[in-house]
Symmetry: C2
Subunit: 206 residues, 2 copies
Amino acid sequence: MTDTRAKRGRPRTFDRAAALTAATRLFWERGYEATSVGELTEAMGIRPGSLYAAFGDKKSLFKEVVDNYGRSPVGAFIGVALEEEPTAFAAFARILREAAVIYPDPAHPAGCLTISAATNVTTQDADMEAYLRDLRNGNLAVFEARLRTAQRAGELPEAASPRALAAYFGAVVQGMSQRARDGATAAELAETAELALAAWPAGRAR
Amino acid sequence: MTDTRAKRGRPRTFDRAAALTAATRLFWERGYEATSVGELTEAMGIRPGSLYAAFGDKKSLFKEVVDNYGRSPVGAFIGVALEEEPTAFAAFARILREAAVIYPDPAHPAGCLTISAATNVTTQDADMEAYLRDLRNGNLAVFEARLRTAQRAGELPEAASPRALAAYFGAVVQGMSQRARDGATAAELAETAELALAAWPAGRAR
DNA sequence: CGGGTTCTTGAGCGAACGCTCTAAAATTGG
DNA sequence: CCAATTTTAGAGCGTTCGCTCAAGAACCCG
């Protein structure tokens, strides 16, 4: 988008992707509102003018951060698991087990960026709140779609409710993200994942 | 504490408890950092001077709010269930089922104050972050203690881990609170609660 | 009633907020 | 080499932040 290089004018002296990564880490740690533009410019190593020229305002920078996060391995593991695993149970088992490893990983801020940053948005910032809520609720819709497919394939009993199961796993994932933020270890989260999987409806097609 | 009335001097012209309730609602909705003193004074119907005289600074007002919330029916239902129910399963079943009703109740802001407001705290405010994290992790310790008692009473198989179960239910409760904030209905949360209870170890002493 | 005490009011402090502007610097096209 | 274009650095805009303070009002005690 802004990638067409070798134009006219003074070239950019900073690495746009690196600056975005720095911003991601900060937003991930502190959330949207609690991260100031001053902290951002310092972490990104640029001056306010450059930030606004390259990324628009704080809000659009954040949205680009979320977008970028969603394409990164850490942010996309759920979608990947849903696509790659042959059965729904295998997919959700992999999601929870990977979340147990990824969320407390000290290589990056704890928990899920979308889940954490989302809660840090004021009611005043109505559109930002809606943007993030829709992101999370969209995840639930994907869960439900996968479970519905599984039910048609006979992986789930007729009595099971894809919608209810999707809501349940969504709540567990959000809970695990929060627990990671509160200092839960990978070992503890792994136990949580196994217990959560025990809720899978009888006739479990493992 | 500040309750010894009929002292000397000009009497307070506002209802301290009512003001605290107004502050509670605001913090509950927006979280700690996102709620400004200006918004607080307006909602409480008092001027900044009165707020600081009656409650100390913003931080101690918030702690009093959390304290007060923990003593209210909505904030104390978990502890009550753990004490009143004869078996651990009955206690956790009641906790999840009541959470499904209480968290989305439109009579107050969605979710649990401690869980929601907590996530809105910056890393900068280190002691506030620690205060809230300890509150939540303290809840987990209470869960674990109840489950350990249950295991000694033979309600839980030897193989079950009270610590892991406590972490699991803690994550589920936090997840349900967040889902309520994202607009989940009581019906949806009730289904989540039932699914979560299916994780109770075999030989379930219902 | 007068002195002591506490509370209310309203102005406003210094700092931080998101953001903008100007001038200089660095590049390309002609 | 010059004009056009784009980015940089840095000052600083207007607003809001948490919080304080001086002045006056409302009560109790003696």
